[in-house]
Symmetry: C2
Subunit: 249 residues, 2 copies
DNA sequence: TAGTGGTCTAGACCACTTT
DNA sequence: AAGTGGTCTAGACCACTAT
């Protein structure tokens, strides 16, 4: 191994445990796309040599990154950066289950997709200046042939500008995969806030329920590795056949 | 250290990684109450000697148990078994937050507390034989002086028999602490399923809302270390001032 | 001062995958 | 056969707590 193979400079004295400094360096390389989703990282001994630390220290940093769903290890092969493949996109952030506890495979129908200026609520939620351009997608999602939810997604135009030009029918069911592959935006975390609301006339028509039916409203803000908001999603769900499940530990 | 200090026999050849076998042995000692909540475990070198493994292997087992909220380490002091102190009881399983993202400190008012036979739904949910005795508690919880939710708790009578004799006014706000201190029942996990419902006449009166107001219904099944259900809780929440928050990773 | 957990290192061997 | 991650061991030193 020559100097050219080194990914980074050796660690210099810093604050906190060495393995956390190593972890932060690796995260920085994920942010600056030294390693992109799906890429393989250098092996643990190589990383250790690059950073000038012992293999055990690198290993501990990787352990935490794996626990946080940023990396995946494959024994005998190597360690890769997590991807939002359709499988993960569909199930990792989707918490509705049927009475048996099984997750449905939802399909989606786009009602509208366009570009406009953010209103005040949208700008505030996404951390954008007032009037910044946003892409707005309205769609419904169904499971087992019956409408499950209606939702509006608001995305920063700076990151997703060309998305508005995509024909509604072209938008895939698994948007997070699209964000990653077409726009280089990776959703790593999301925070959801839930409340109960009643269906208005539009909800009722789209969800095939009576006006006034109670719906579960899910307000989700998704962010990337930098902690920047990249999507605001407001969903209204029927909860007669599916419920929202949470495991508390 | 003498043989009498050993808490267990050395590991014998088994299946899977050694550290997981050590972890399972420790969990078994938590179940059989060799170490109770609040107790201090033997030090890592002592455990290693008892189990006949290296300190690093014990450490890895403890790492996982700490990550699962079964143990807590205190540098310089030792490792103790997690307790459901009122702080944890109030905040660990309670996910309602206000608009600013802060958790309220709810107070509770017991409406009824008694013992009777489980109906079919209750027996099924708690894994009890039909007609088994259960303790049922009805109460409301308020935050910032306003009613937040109304709920019914159903507990296996076998575990909580004497609880029905407690005067309603004596029941503390933090029930999980009571379960642990008075009945030796520790809640370790819970699964919640959420749906939207409308307030019936009783809900409306207790929550001071109009009949038909949408409410968030939280169906929680809590279990102990053995995986046995120990509480079924059905709550109906107003979501005008507080929302249910979930972090997705 | 002694004991505890927290960090870091070094090396051996195993299981799995690729060539 | 060579390279990867997975496990297990052993020992050094540090930071914190109790006495």
């Amino acid at each position: 191994m020559t100097a050219a193979d080194l990914i980074d400079e050796p660690m210099r004295p810093g604050h906190g445990p060495l393995y956390r400094q190593v972890k932060q360096r690796i995260i920085r390389h994920l942010i600056d796309e030294t390693w992109k989703p799906g890429d393989m990282l250098p092996s643990e001994p190589r990383l250790a040599e690059s950073f000038g630390v012992s293999p055990g220290t690198v290993r501990r940093a990787l352990d935490e990154l794996v626990a946080e769903n940023l990396l995946v290890r494959h024994q005998g092969k190597g360690t890769i950066v997590c991807r939002h493949d359709p499988e993960r996109s569909l199930f990792h952030f989707f918490r509705m289950v049927d009475a048996a506890g099984d997750r449905p495979t939802p399909s989606s129908r786009v009602l509208a997709c366009g570009r406009r200026r953010a209103d005040r609520a949208e700008a505030a939620r996404l951390g954008l200046p007032a009037g910044a351009p946003v892409v707005v997608i309205d769609r419904t999602r169904s499971a087992a042939g019956r409408p499950l939810l209606v939702e509006r997604l608001v995305l920063p135009g700076r990151l997703f500008g060309p998305l508005a030009a995509v024909a509604p029918a072209e938008l895939p069911n698994t948007l997070y995969t699209l964000y990653e592959e077409r726009f280089g935006v990776t959703v790593y975390r999301a925070a959801e806030q839930l409340r109960a609301v009643t269906a208005d006339a539009r909800d009722a028509q789209l969800l095939e329920v009576a006006t006034g039916t109670p719906l579960l409203e899910i307000d989700r803000l998704a962010s990337n590795l930098d902690g920047m908001p990249v999507e605001w999603r407001l969903s209204r769900c029927r909860t007669d056949a599916y419920r929202y499940r949470v495991e508390l530990v």
